[in-house]
Every structure is written in structure tokens, then in C-alpha cells.
């Protein structure tokens, strides 16, 4: 087998990113490195030079902490709510295939002492990436179990140093109708905006994800950087983030603006708060046919319920 250095067959950014990932995942990284260097074992020839050798989907864990198995990679990458590309969940992967997520910059500003703009490579280099296996519960009544890579948002916030006035975090998706054709649709007020209370944003479960299944995030999953807040409905986990702004006032998300009676600011997974359309009492796990009970806070109540002590969660839906 020819020993072509990976750097010659892989775009530099991807190569560096992957090295970062390998470094950060330690022992697993060694195994993955073997795969990267040799190609998949069953594949005799080297991949064509034009096709970067993407590692096969792999995750360190096989189930979440409740024992629920991972949703398969194909479903995670082919069933996506991402109106910036298509309103058809099964068409997003195709519609976003040509989306190039580099170069990419993320600005952290607003009520912070250290406003800063990071290149995506800086974020990958600065913060160790770790695997987090989370349930994702969509407000539409379906759910998945996904092995993300990323880092807790509180690490980034600590660098930015929110001031005493900062109470909320406002996230914004890239606004570029040329690259995200769904944004030409005037039905919604682009760009996509989401928000968290500062203590929610600082919670250790809240991560910024840069990959899943051991691979760099694909466009349909929110490349190159997205939020993942596992105890809230999926639409809170905003994709393809370009700006993280600390604010004093509660941000208004795109969904709050478009249907205020259906989508509140908190959007915590809550089987007791009905939605006019989808069942919130039960859900369908992708890959299963029968319904499951939906758990309060999507099963993370022990970790996060205290954030909402004393609040009426029916009023603050």
C-alpha cells in the first residue's frame, strides 16, 4: 500500500480538524487513525484523491445513559429540520450537499468583557472536543439518540466573561440566501435566532457541537458549529451559528415570532404541556414503530429541573 500522507489527499482544514479530533479522543483516536491511514479494511484501493477520506461513522459509546441505543448514522444525517435548505426533512441532506462551511467565523459579543471573533479552527484547537450521547426530542413528536462531539458552551462563555448585566444568550444562524436557498422564502423572518437564559447556557449539558459519529458535522446537521441543549425541543438547538451575543433582555426566537402561542422561549420538553398538533405525551423514536412515553426535560430532569425551581412551566412553555 502506498504511504501517501493523509495531508496530501485531504483538504488542509479537514486534516487539521481531524487531527484535533484524534488527539482529543485519545485511545479511540488511535483506532480511528488506523482507519484513516489505511482506508476502510474492506476497501482495497486508496480513495480517489478528489474525495477526502472521511472516517467511517463511529462513536465511543453505543447507547445513552438510559441504555437507549444510538440512532443509526443514516437517519441522523438524512432526517433533518433545517428550513434554510428545505422544508422537507428528507430533502435537506441533498439540498445542503454543496454547502461549504469553511472559512467560518463566529463572533461572541454583546455584554461581555472580551468580545472576540473566532475562526472555526480556533474553536476546535482551543477547546477539547468530547463525545456526548444525547437524546434529541423534536417538537414534532419524534426523537433520536445522537453521539455528538463538541465542547460545553460554558468554556467559551468563560473566555468571553459576561458582564453582570448579561442575563441571556442570543444565537444567530448564518444569513446568506445564496448559500442557504431556503432563506429566499419570505414566509419566515430570517435569520434563524434562538436564545437561552444565561444559567441554561452555562449548564454543563449545553454544548456547542462540531461533529457527530466521529465525523466533522455535515451541512444538514448544522456545520460547522451548532448548539445542542438536550432537555429542550430540537428547534432550540440552533445550527450553523455565526454569532453568540450576550444580552440583558430575553431574545425573541424565530419560532416565538412566527407562532407565539405554540413556541415559547423555554421550550423545555414537557409531556404535560400540550401542543395543538403533535403529541407531547408520547414520541416516536426514529427506527421504532411504537410510541414511547416522553420524559419530563427529555429525561434530564435530575440535572436541570432545579434551573426552573418555582417557575410555572405551563405558563413558561
Amino acid at each position: 500500500m502506498n504511504r501517501i500522507p493523509a495531508s496530501e489527499i485531504t483538504p488542509e482544514w479537514l486534516y487539521r480538524q481531524r487531527r484535533q479530533f484524534l488527539r482529543s479522543t485519545g485511545a479511540l483516536g488511535l483506532a480511528a487513525a488506523a482507519l484513516v491511514a489505511c482506508g476502510a479494511p474492506a476497501q482495497p484501493a486508496m480513495p480517489a484523491p478528489t474525495q477526502p477520506a472521511v472516517p467511517a461513522p463511529r462513536a465511543a459509546g453505543t447507547a445513552d445513559e438510559r441504555g437507549d441505543p444510538l440512532t443509526d448514522f443514516d437517519s441522523v444525517t438524512n432526517y433533518n429540520n433545517f428550513y434554510e435548505f428545505s422544508m422537507d426533512k428528507e430533502a435537506v441532506a441533498r439540498a445542503s450537499a454543496g454547502f461549504v462551511a469553511t472559512p467560518w467565523q463566529v463572533t461572541v459579543d454583546g455584554l461581555v468583557r472580551n468580545p472576540q471573533t473566532y475562526a472555526i479552527e480556533d474553536l476546535l484547537g482551543r477547546f477539547d472536543q468530547e463525545e456526548r450521547i444525547y437524546r434529541l426530542r423534536c417538537v414534532e413528536g419524534w426523537s433520536m439518540v445522537i453521539p455528538w462531539q463538541g465542547f460545553p458552551l460554558h468554556r467559551l462563555l468563560a473566555e468571553a466573561e459576561p458582564t453582570a448585566e448579561a442575563g441571556y444568550v442570543r444565537f444567530t444562524t448564518l444569513h446568506d440566501p445564496e448559500r442557504m436557498p431556503g432563506q429566499r422564502d419570505p414566509w419566515f423572518t430570517w435569520p434563524y435566532v434562538e436564545g437561552l437564559r444565561l444559567d441554561e447556557a452555562r449548564h454543563d449539558l449545553t454544548i456547542l457541537a462540531t461533529g457527530l459519529y466521529g465525523q466533522t458535522l455535515l451541512p444538514q446537521n448544522g456545520a460547522p458549529l451548532r448548539l445542542v441543549v438536550p432537555w429542550k425541543y430540537g428547534f432550540k438547538s440552533i445550527k450553523s451559528i455565526v454569532r453568540i451575543e450576550l444580552t440583558a433582555a430575553q431574545p425573541t426566537s424565530l419560532w416565538m415570532a412566527s407562532a407565539p402561542h405554540e413556541y415559547g422561549f423555554y421550550a423545555n420538553v414537557n409531556p404535560d404541556v400540550a401542543h395543538p398538533r403533535w403529541s407531547q405525551a408520547t414520541e416516536r423514536r426514529i427506527g421504532e414503530l411504537s410510541r414511547r412515553e416522553t420524559l419530563p426535560f427529555n429525561g434530564y430532569a435530575a440535572d436541570v429541573a432545579s434551573l426552573y425551581a418555582g417557575m410555572d412551566l405551563r405558563a413558561n412553555y
Binding site: D74, N78, M87, E90, W255, R277, S279, I286
Partner: protein
Amino acid sequence: MRRSDGLIHVLALAPLVWIVFDQLTGQRSINPIQTWTQRSGFSALALLLASLACTPANRIAGVRRAAAWRRPLGLYGFGYALIHVLIFVVIDYAADGSAIMAELAEKRYLIVGALAFAILIPLALTSTAAWQRRLGRQWRRMHRMVYLAVPLAVVHQIWQAKSDIRLAVLFALVTGLVLLMRLPPTTGARRR
């Protein structure tokens, strides 16, 4: 039977063939129950509307043959509605009566959908020529209930749409148009 009649059957069966074809060729949806529900509901309403459009097509546009398409299109529409409801009851909710009742009580779009379906059942059962003879004048009066069932189904569609109600509004417009064309001055009833 004319060739155009055959076309009606082909068109009406196409959505079903499409679903079965996708299953057999492995192009299965990642969330198949939702996909089946949506396709069957869409086909039910589209065919019912097509059925209602037959009389104006005959009387106003002069498509004489359309009078013969009314019944099969309506029955196909009901057939898809039946599939739609069965998917919900048997597959989605595994015939769990209490869970279904809880959903029904909670969601207005399901209440109007169920009303529409309840109206359609007796109409489908009495759609045969034998029943038409037996019921005589009552038959016509009874079958006008379809003009209640279809708008209810449109409301069901509007209320289940996620924010983007454009397709549902299009269906509502078509329904309104078809209903308007049934008003006495355009039905030709007075010309006689």
C-alpha cells in the same frame, strides 16, 4: 367504460402505488408512519375535491363525461381517508383507545378531522345505485353533507400545518371555488 374513465382509476390509485413502490424498492421514509399519514391524508382530500369538481366541470365547462367520475373519485377519496385513519389508529397509536381519546380531546385539528370522517362513512356506504334508489329524494339531501365534510377536512389540514399553511390555503381556495360553483345560479337548475 371509456378510456378517460380508466385514466381516473390510474390517477386515483397512483398515490397508493407510489407508497407500495417505495416500500418494495427500499426507498423507505425515515419516519414512515408520518409519511404515510401525510400522503394518505393529502390524497383523500385531493380526490374528494376532484369529485366535487366533477359537477361544475360537467355543467359549466361542458366536460360531460365528468358526471361519471364523481362517484369513483369520491369513493377513492374515502378509501384514502379510511387508510389515513387506520394508520393513525392501528399503526401510530397501536389501537390504544385511551391514548387516542386523550389526543382527540386535546387537539382541535383531530376533532374536525374525526367529524369529517364520521360524515363520510354513511355517504360511502350509501353510494351504490341500489341505495340511491332506495333512499330516493332523501339520498340527494343526505349526500349534500359532503359539502360539510370537505370543508371540515380542509380546516383539519390547516390546523395541522406547521406554520406554513400555504398548501392548506390552496386547498381551501379550491374548496371555496367548488362550493361557489354549486350555488343555484350556476347549477343550471333554473334553466330547465
